[in-house]
Symmetry: D2
């Protein structure tokens, strides 16, 4: 699904003919419109539309009549206060619509975030393109030995080569057979809704995805996290760039109070207050399991 | 909460300084921005922002790269097809944000529509204004004698006068006492979060309400319906005007396939097919209750 | 993932040791608990738990203190009234939890119904089994020539044989390679979260799916429909059996007012009223497109 | 709406005739069924139904076939792990249905939690009872002088007496007039949907409220918090008791990782690590505002 000349011309045309609006405009976001950010080998994230800006968050929080801003500084303070105290509804007043091209196995993780609107390319109706995600060699990792749900060291040498060879060969064979099954030359041709089942989940799909800022930040907190699978994390990282340009004050508050924040349990707080008073504390004395104690050490040492 | 000169100046300023955008712009909607539509005696509906237009619905349905429209005619046909066959996700790709001022008892019905974003004026934090809904005389009706959940004929003469007198007097007394309780003159002053409980539910509140087009149309179908309470129906009617200007093709399809449409049960379809063949049909012969039979007669006679 | 003897024993044990409860019990549903209904070649639907029954719908509609039922007959009438007039909240008061085993391409359609709770088997964490959906010969169809989004006649002879051969061979090769890549014999072994991308979407996954009755009926209306893809429709059909036993009155109302019902547009109602009066009506005279006129003819002839 | 003898007899009957089920049963919860917990002066919380228990959370997390538990100890560890790492979907697999009687101003806060099912007593259809919330003297507080959205010291003496007198008198007068307006003696009688607007928001309403455990815990975290308004907090506290009996392991994890937990911002973590190393840290050196610094001090001193 690379852009053909007609599509490029149409997009070029849209970009070069701005229109007038009396709505809130985010200058930082306007420059992203219609510009795809490349992700993985064939994917992208492209901003289609947006609603609101930092001031709109404050305007809603104040349920005000006019622009709702007293000063940029006041707005930043208010946004930080709202984020810190989990007042989520004002952040729901901003909305973004993205066009995303992504492998099916990434799409399957992504769609678990339910509070969003989605229109996906239909493989019942249309024919999928021959585009498969093949990881770059530096992202072909072994199963982690410490975390059942993650990857460990990078594969090297023959093993890595074998994996890449298998992924490429199987993708191409599956697609050859997909084409052969739906072909109407000399045969009726299998229904698309059936033929698609032969395709592996590294094939690319695409969708329009629309979500409010509060739910987007929740998505980013989980998916831009180091524990998220690399292949969805790179999409989250790309969207983080966009959000930072769209609503800079909200994004900064998000970095400080979510991405960079740490939640300590009741037991950890007991341990912490003990440490600050110079007391001796242990996992046992605070009621933590060995695993929690390790997590606690990581938090205060990091 | 009437607008003060500063607010009016600010709004005037926003309206008179349009900005450039490369987003989709709905000309019909731009003219609504910042113009309140009066509803009831002190209420209003005011468009704050919107995302998308008729073309955006089609663009998402086609998950296309560019403008996504081949022609206006094609777009209209596609939109009608989507509406007729309950393909709701493309309509979710448009979004609207309204500022609404409304009586509390109307707000309580409205908020039952859960798929929306809301920021309401906080009476814990702020002081409510002395503004109460007092119905116009032509909207003071008796309890319906045929429908437990509705109103019947208009009250007249002394009874009507008495009702209006009560509503006005009780509203004012409640507000006087609200003010007296929170006053800090010569006393500490009751907490606002407590004092508000003395106010009747015809007092006005206000909120920012943001919703996607699919869920908005669902709201309108239920609330612009003749069975909806008059006081919420007038808000729905006002929003219908806005939507007709915003996404004219989608609104026309909504009128044809939702507002003006009729759903017939399996039994009604049996009766209907019988009638069209000139057969004699009765409630019994088709398995309808007396009530369903009356509803069926109303549908085909209307 | 067929049941092993330990699992069978455990399930047998659960079934044979009923406990006492003072909650609402649906006798029709109790017999379904822990009994899988087979669907497709390796799939199933299994009721894990449920909340409520027909009486619970009425109890909530009446917001009553006790059982909330005056008589079974009253309850049926109330349920039919609620269904007919789209009063959906009482139906949300019943809940069901299912364990479903299904091919990934079916899961991808299913998950688009967002108002539900889901826990899916994790292929990041665990290894998938070698179980693939291979359609029965009578369900291998050609692409439809009248509907871009559907299937037409059954494939026969060599073409059908070729399709089945491809699906089987590609599934097995993909799984062989999946196993080879994750194997830790003589190599590190590829991370599971990466290896899974080689698997085609006819592989089986499984999940726990919990949903309220209102949203379940919406799912069934769309997925038990003749236009739904066969492979999801059979799951919907299986669940219809379960619901009919669980809440018989609600299910009957659903059949009459949803599954067997027909929605006519404003234009269709004009045509219909004309026909009933013996007038001549045409697509043009009623403002219908050729396509809508055909749909109208199908409705009244069916 | 106190229970009449018929209702009491019906409830007594339900309690004394347990039925058999093969579903998961929580013994701790069975004893709550049909027993109202009194809240405020006329309100209550009453468990109507529930689905699932601690084991059901683990069963879903493991997407297992049978009971899904290896041992109670294993289950507790898993539940703590899920809670600590924000794996919320397994907690959605439990569901509760409550009957709640509460003042309208509390209901207005409560309903802002959108992911729940609600059936409220209809004042369009039915007549409300003469039951108003009048705070106990120890809960009549002044507006807070440090927090715009809260209450300060308890009012005393004449001021307190005056407030209580106003609330009682206005409630009763409003209700007298409500009755007078809807009366059909010697007049038509005002429609109920209109008359209700004269009633203040301390009148009691009631509803059935159904919610999954994950969303319930979110509700409890916000509403059992010391910053929540007292009148909703007492409902949250009552529900906490119920949840502790229903799913003891999940509730304990909720106490440790939510209610008793503390979230520190990126800046606070810098300050904390400095303090633990014995360094001198200030608001400025860590990039905190004066307000954040105060909040930080409160966290580590508490």
């Amino acid at each position: 699904m690379p852009l053909n000349p007609d599509q490029l011309a149409e997009i070029q045309d849209l970009r070069s003919s701005p229109k007038q609006t009396v709505r809130a405009v985010s200058e930082g976001m306007e420059k992203h419109l219609y510009h795809a950010i490349d992700v993985l080998d064939h994917g992208f994230v492209r901003v289609i539309d947006y609603m609101g800006d930092d001031a709109a968050i404050c305007q809603a929080a104040r349920v005000s009549y006019g622009k709702g801003t007293k000063s940029v500084q006041n707005d930043e303070g208010l946004i930080r206060y709202l984020m810190r105290h989990w007042h989520s509804t004002p952040f729901e007043m901003c909305e973004i619509k993205l066009h995303v091209k992504l492998p099916v196995f990434v799409a399957r993780q992504w769609i678990r975030h339910r509070t969003a609107n989605v229109n996906e390319y239909s493989a019942r109706y249309s024919i999928l393109d021959r585009e498969f995600y093949i990881p770059a060699p530096e992202h072909v990792n072994a199963q982690s030995v410490v975390n059942n749900q993650g990857r460990g060291e990078v594969l090297e040498g023959e093993e890595a080569a074998r994996v890449l060879e298998i992924l490429k060969a199987d993708s191409n064979r599956a697609y050859d057979n997909y084409e052969a099954m739906i072909s109407e030359e000399g045969q009726l041709g299998l229904a698309r809704e059936l033929a698609r089942m032969n395709l592996p989940s590294n094939i690319y799909t695409q969708w329009y995805w629309k979500v409010d800022l509060h739910n987007l930040l929740h998505f980013l907190r989980l998916r831009a996290d180091p524990h998220a699978q690399y292949e969805i994390r790179v999409y989250a990282d790309a969207i983080c760039q966009v959000v930072a340009d769209w609503v800079p004050a909200a994004y900064k508050a998000f970095e400080d109070y979510r991405l960079g924040a740490v939640t300590m349990s009741a037991q950890m707080m007991v341990a912490l207050r003990g440490l600050l008073k110079g007391e001796e504390v242990t996992a046992e004395s605070c009621g933590m399991s060995a695993r929690e104690w390790r997590e606690f050490q990581d938090m205060i040492d990091a």
